[in-house]
């Protein structure tokens, strides 16, 4: 291998390391750290109750 080849190899190695790092960082930024169990826990609930249904049922016969 000539000097040029060694230099080219070093440059390619360096660029590969850069690309690897960029992809890893991108993956870290996009991947969520919230577990499925936590996601279930924080799922909102609707506390409203359609209370008019009680009047409707009350107005019916036994």
């Amino acid at each position: 291998m000539t000097n040029k080849d060694w230099l080219l190899l070093a440059i390619i190695t360096f660029l590969t390391a850069i690309v690897w790092t960029v992809f890893d960082v991108y993956h870290t930024v996009t991947a969520t750290t919230v577990t499925p169990a936590q996601a279930d826990l924080i799922d909102p609930i609707d506390p409203t109750l359609h209370t008019e249904i009680f009047d409707t049922i009350n107005s019916r016969k036994d």
Binding site: F14, A17, P47
Partner: protein, 228 residues
Amino acid sequence: MKKGDNLTLHNPKTLQALLISQETQAYAMAFLSFFALAFFTVFAIRPTLISFFNLQKQIEEAKETDSKLEMKIEQLLAAQQVYQDYQSELALLDKALPENPEFAQLIQKLEEIVNDKEATTTAFETIDEVTLLDKHELLNLGTAANAEMSPEVSEALNEMPAESIKFSMTIGSNYLNNKAVANHLLELKRIIGLTTLEFTNTKDQDNVEFPVETTLEAEAFYLPKLND
């Protein structure tokens, strides 16, 4: 020493000449620089950046989770308040949609209504299979008594999607009484839906004691408890 010169490297003098040549020194410096950069990128910069962004992401999501949990706590408190306010009324929901088919009580009610309206039930049949015990009681019965319950039956009980019992009933009386029975059925607290209602004038038919016969096909709904 120029580029392209043929050198015999086993000669120390020639090797020394090569190493001290400016071109080789420049290449060696560049090679080592890039190699060192790659090395540090892989073993130092990459882990540091990953840790940094990972921690930042965790902090951001932890804050978001915290605010959502606080919101959920508020929602739960609101739901608890609503539940306490209407606790006495909740029994009404069980009346409208019982957890079990409560078929025996349903028949008793039907009989009561028919008698009240001075009509007579001349025929009654269930359209689907109806069990007097609910699904869990049936399964427990099978386990407790060590009865021979085939896997198919057990599986069918477990997967029973039915949320209504369908029945057909024929009543005889005059038109107004029969209509009153149908109306009363629809006005019961227990939710019952009529799928078919047929009035037949039997005045011209022989051996019939009622002037009008009414055939009702209905569905009584119930809401089985969901398994967790």
